[in-house]
């Protein structure tokens, strides 16, 4: 045996493109993947009949589509159509080379059908069987291939991960300890969720490790642990490049089949029409009659024997290359050198037609060369103690190595809606969880709509601009269904029929796969379940509350609030944050929020006041989701604008207490700030239901400087409620 190991990982993923209506072009993606990749790979596993240590990742959308009777039956129809087309072609008297290739296709399509029917049309059974026989290992992916670094909440990331694992387990009878992160996209923090969900390893691009902190001693010659303990297996660029690159890799060889030249485009429309889309669209038949030939538009016919010869050559070359690579690093111990080669499965067969046979041949060569293949799971079992722990920053295996593909000017418009759906789900689960079985099923269906919308495929397709319209439509449709169902939930218009209708549109995932509690936050649970109902509350805005009270105002507010609380009122006090005092405290019926500014350092008084008012409004926005305010009471000019805009938005009465005015504090004042404060003070006099002024001020005096109406009154004694309602008698002795 040579030193070191080789680990091959194949990731099979397609977006969920199952449509009830016939003739959706995108459904053909599934047929192509089955015909060119999935079954050919299964053929190799079946041919070799031994532990290959290949790790096959199948994403939940693929698992679900493979298990879907509608897709299965249509695939058989598709095979029959192709076989019919091949017969017609053979009857046409084509050239000798074409006839030879058509015979090859006839045999191949018959074999595809035989294999497909052998597994009772469900290829999940095939993969599961080979996995249970120990020939391959299997993992899965997150529910819909959502791009982790661009999710907003921990809940959404967890839902994607847990739902994916649940779905896979339902079909495959076991829960994998590895997962394929969509696009190999790692972001700090996703490892914690993975670990908590029972995942122990995943795959990243090589620069994730090369740029890790600290730099790993073994470079990419060994996996590392992320800070939260998930093993990250790096893709070896040099070795992988030999295989995937159409420029420097094997797939670009002139003798291999040409991907972009399909029989559909070489035949007259009248002849081929029967096999094309009813709306007159040509699409690939999968019968590709030419070889790459070279860097030319003039393509020669495909010669199967030549292609097979190249497969042998390339498999041998690959084994030799790998041997050299392993020997060069042969000195590495603890752990021994490991080459990880993760690929999109569709590269083999779909893009590189001869790929699956190449993999089969490589497996044979490696055995001859004494190169040990291993699965990541087995590698960890043997060497888990030898791995370093490092910090890995956000990265992917995509263009330029980061997020370029999934966030750019072509697809950025989706993100705010996705984030909105995430936060809505958290809120809906908090509000409606376990209200009734029907409501719980609704929450599950909302999560289903969300995961279908968050599929990274839509951003990917929009970036590539291939079937951009389809991707944009799909995103909009899932968002619309989410919006409509959420509205039905809010308006109490749910029914079994409605839910069935929503499910039928995209029957992806079983209800048991989706756990609504992934979206629950413990704090929300406390608020919605344990905190209990409060009476309608008074919202008090004041520049001072407890702490170092400077003047009359601070004392008046405290006395006022305490008096109202004694009356039995619930009071929420919003006041500026002060160092040394808690941001929140509660005394029986009084909640005190000391509100921080977005930015603590502002030079100008009016700007500080503006920032403080903005902070009050933003906090009140958050509070009204759970607290009902029946009145707003503001103190002093510094809280006027927030109080006014909140009173307007909440449509509640507005009360004001002004113990002094700018003109009384500063009788000879003038200038910009003086005028601005004067204007703001005038506005409250015009808008408040009642303005209470200090006993020392007369209304006449104020009226000389301000336009006042009959809503201005002198402060009431503390035991009289300014809100003009009967005091609630409490504990009267």
């Amino acid at each position: 045996m040579k030193p070191g190991y080789f680990s091959l990982v194949l990731h099979a993923h397609l977006p969920y493109v199952r449509h009830e209506e016939k003739h959706r072009l995108e459904e053909r993606w599934v047929y192509e993947a089955i015909s060119e990749t999935y079954i050919p790979i299964l053929w190799q596993v079946d041919r070799l009949q031994k532990p290959l240590h290949w790790t096959v990742s199948i994403s939940p959308p693929v698992v679900e589509m493979l298990a879907d009777p509608l897709v299965q039956d249509r695939y058989v129809e598709h095979l029959d159509e192709m076989l019919e087309l091949i017969e017609i072609e053979l009857a046409e008297g084509r050239s000798e080379q074409e006839v030879e290739t058509l015979h090859f296709y006839r045999g191949r399509y018959n074999d595809l059908k035989t294999t497909f029917l052998h597994w009772e049309k469900n290829l999940n059974h095939a993969f599961r069987t080979y996995r249970e026989q120990g020939f391959i290992d299997m993992v899965t992916c997150t529910a819909t291939h959502g791009f982790n670094p661009h999710l907003f909440t921990e809940q959404a990331a967890r839902a994607e991960i847990r739902t994916g694992l649940n779905c896979f387990e339902r079909h495959y009878g076991f829960r994998p300890t590895g997962i394929w992160l969509p696009e190999c996209a790692y972001t700090p923090g996703v490892d914690r969720i993975l670990y908590e969900e029972g995942v122990r390893y995943t795959f990243v691009d090589e620069h994730a490790l090369l740029d890790a902190d600290p730099t790993p001693d073994k470079g990419i010659g060994a996996p590392v642990y992320s800070p939260h303990g998930v093993a990250l297996f790096p893709r070896d660029q040099i070795i992988s490049g030999k295989i995937w690159s159409s420029m420097i890799g094997y797939p670009g060889h002139p003798d291999y089949r040409e991907f972009y030249r399909d029989l559909a485009y070489d035949r007259d429309w009248a002849y081929i029409e029967k096999f094309m889309h009813p709306e007159g669209i040509r699409f690939d038949t999968g019968l590709k009659m030419h070889r790459i030939t070279g860097d030319t538009d003039e393509k020669d016919y495909y010669v199967r024997a030549w292609a097979e010869h190249q497969i042998d050559n390339h498999a041998l070359d690959f084994a030799q290359t790998l041997e050299g690579h392993l020997e060069a690093h042969g000195g590495q111990m603890f752990p021994p050198f490991l080459v990880t080669a993760p690929f999109d499965a569709e590269l083999f067969g779909h893009w590189w037609f001869e790929g699956p046979e190449f993999l089969g041949k490589v497996a044979e060569r490696l055995e001859e060369f004494g190169i040990e293949t291993i699965t990541p799971a087995l590698f960890l079992e043997r060497h888990f103690q030898d791995l370093e722990t490092v910090h890995v920053s956000m990265n992917t295996w995509g263009r330029k190595g980061y997020g370029d593909v999934w966030i750019n000017e072509r697809n950025e418009w989706m993100l705010r809606h996705l984030h909105m759906m995430e936060t809505q789900l958290v809120k809906d689960v908090a509000d409606y969880r376990h209200k009734s079985p029907l409501v719980d099923r609704t929450l599950i269906q909302l999560i289903r709509h969300y995961v279908l919308a968050v599929s990274s495929d839509w951003a990917f397709i929009l970036d590539g601009q291939t079937t951009a319209q389809y991707a944009a439509e799909r995103f909009r449709e899932h968002t619309r269904l989410f919006a409509e169902l959420e509205t039905a939930l809010y308006q109490d218009k749910l029914s079994d029929e409605l839910l069935a209708e929503h499910y039928r549109a995209y029957p992806f995932l079983d209800d048991v796969d989706i756990d609504i509690d992934t979206f629950l936050s413990p704090h929300d649970y406390y608020v919605t379940t344990e905190r209990g109902q409060e009476d309608e509350a008074i919202l008090v805005l004041t520049p001072e509350y407890t702490g170092n009270v400077v003047g009359d105002l601070g004392r008046r507010v405290i006395d006022e609030v305490e008096a109202r609380a004694a009356d039995g009122e619930t009071v929420y006090v919003l006041t500026p944050f002060k160092e040394g005092l808690p941001e929140y405290e509660r005394h029986n019926r009084v909640h005190v929020y000391r509100v921080r500014l977005t930015s603590p350092f502002l030079e100008h008084v009016m700007n500080q006041v503006a920032a403080q008012n903005v902070a009050y409004v933003k906090l009140a926005h958050e509070l009204v989701s759970k607290v009902t305010f029946k009145a707003i009471h503001q103190f002093d000019w510094m809280t006027i604008t927030a109080a006014r805009s909140l009173a307007k938005a909440l449509q509640v009465p507005l009360y004001s207490t002004m113990l002094s005015f700018e003109t009384t504090r500063n009788p000879h004042g003038h200038g910009g700030l003086f005028d601005a404060i004067h204007r703001i003070e005038s506005s409250i006099l015009a808008e408040a239901d009642t303005v209470f002024i200090c006993e020392q001020l007369s209304t006449e005096e104020v009226g000389m400087r301000y336009p006042i109406g009959d809503n201005v009154k002198t402060c009431l004694p503390l035991d009289a409620s300014p809100y003009g309602q009967k005091r609630l008698k409490k504990n009267t002795k």
């Binding site: 730099t215 749910l494 977005t598």
Partner: protein, 255 residues
């Protein structure tokens, strides 16, 4: 007085008309009407603010949670201030078909990494905040110059107000997203959206959570090496690392 309001409402008058007729502040009329409704077995439904001409978005409304309950009987024929609760994602275009909402009338600002040198940021300012600022500065929101600030807070606490570097630039009116570039790799940033005040001071209204740009070259023994070691060996209660994907609570400010 309450009975009077209710009877006028049932005659089909709007709350505004009632307020004028009874010479009362509208707030009081609205309150009395809401109170009467809730006392008479009708959940106080969210009340939309008077429609502004710019958009028909629901304003912030103080609402008690609606559990699916008996459906609400309409008392008056013209409930012009009443809108049934609906998903914020439900919106209709001019042709009456569903469309993606243009905005959600919230205050939010999120950042996601595009590359070591670029971050995508999007944000939204609520009507109430816009209005508060208009009142404060006596100018319409549209006339307040918009600006954007980039703060490098690597190894600092944003809440302390300290930053290693800050850079502010003007934004065109009506922007709600920006690809911020060029940035430095391996740096912790906070992005703020705000206005420029009369004095030229930047007044931030929104800020993102801190976000790390990825490294783009080998780190050697960098700023994460020690925090990782401390966490690995259990020397700290919580990792001193900036994780994305924070747990979100819908009611995080309700205590």
């Amino acid at each position: 007085m309450e009975e009077k309001i209710v009877s006028l409402k049932q005659q089909g008058l709007t709350l505004k008309q009632i307020a004028e007729q009874l010479d009362m502040p509208i707030g009081k009329v609205q309150y009395a009407w809401r109170k009467w409704r809730s006392q008479h077995g009708e959940p106080a439904k969210p009340v939309a603010a008077p429609k502004r001409k710019t958009e028909g978005k629901k304003a912030m409304t103080s609402k008690s949670k609606q559990v699916p309950a008996s459906s609400v009987k309409q008392v008056a024929s013209t409930l012009q201030h009443e809108e049934p609760a609906q998903s914020p994602l439900l919106d209709k275009g001019p042709e009456g078909f569903w469309k993606l909402p243009d905005r959600y009338d919230q205050d939010l600002m999120h950042a996601v990494v595009q590359s070591p040198n670029a971050v995508y940021v999007f944000w939204e300012v609520s009507d109430s905040v816009k209005e508060t600022l208009s009142m404060q500065f006596m100018r319409p929101w549209e006339d307040l110059p918009k600006a954007f600030r980039i703060l490098d807070i690597t190894l600092l606490d944003y809440a302390s107000g300290h930053a290693n570097r800050a850079y502010t630039f003007e934004l065109p009116e009506m922007t709600n997203s920006w690809f911020v570039r060029p940035l430095d790799p391996n740096t912790t940033y906070v992005f703020e959206f705000g206005i420029r005040t009369m004095e030229g001071e930047f007044l931030p209204l929104l800020a993102t959570s801190p976000i790390d740009t990825p490294r783009a070259e080998p780190a050697g023994h960098g700023r994460f090496a020690e925090p990782v070691r401390r966490w690995q060996y259990g020397k700290v209660e919580a990792p001193e690392l900036l994780d994305t994907l924070p747990k979100y609570s819908a009611y995080r400010f309700v205590r």
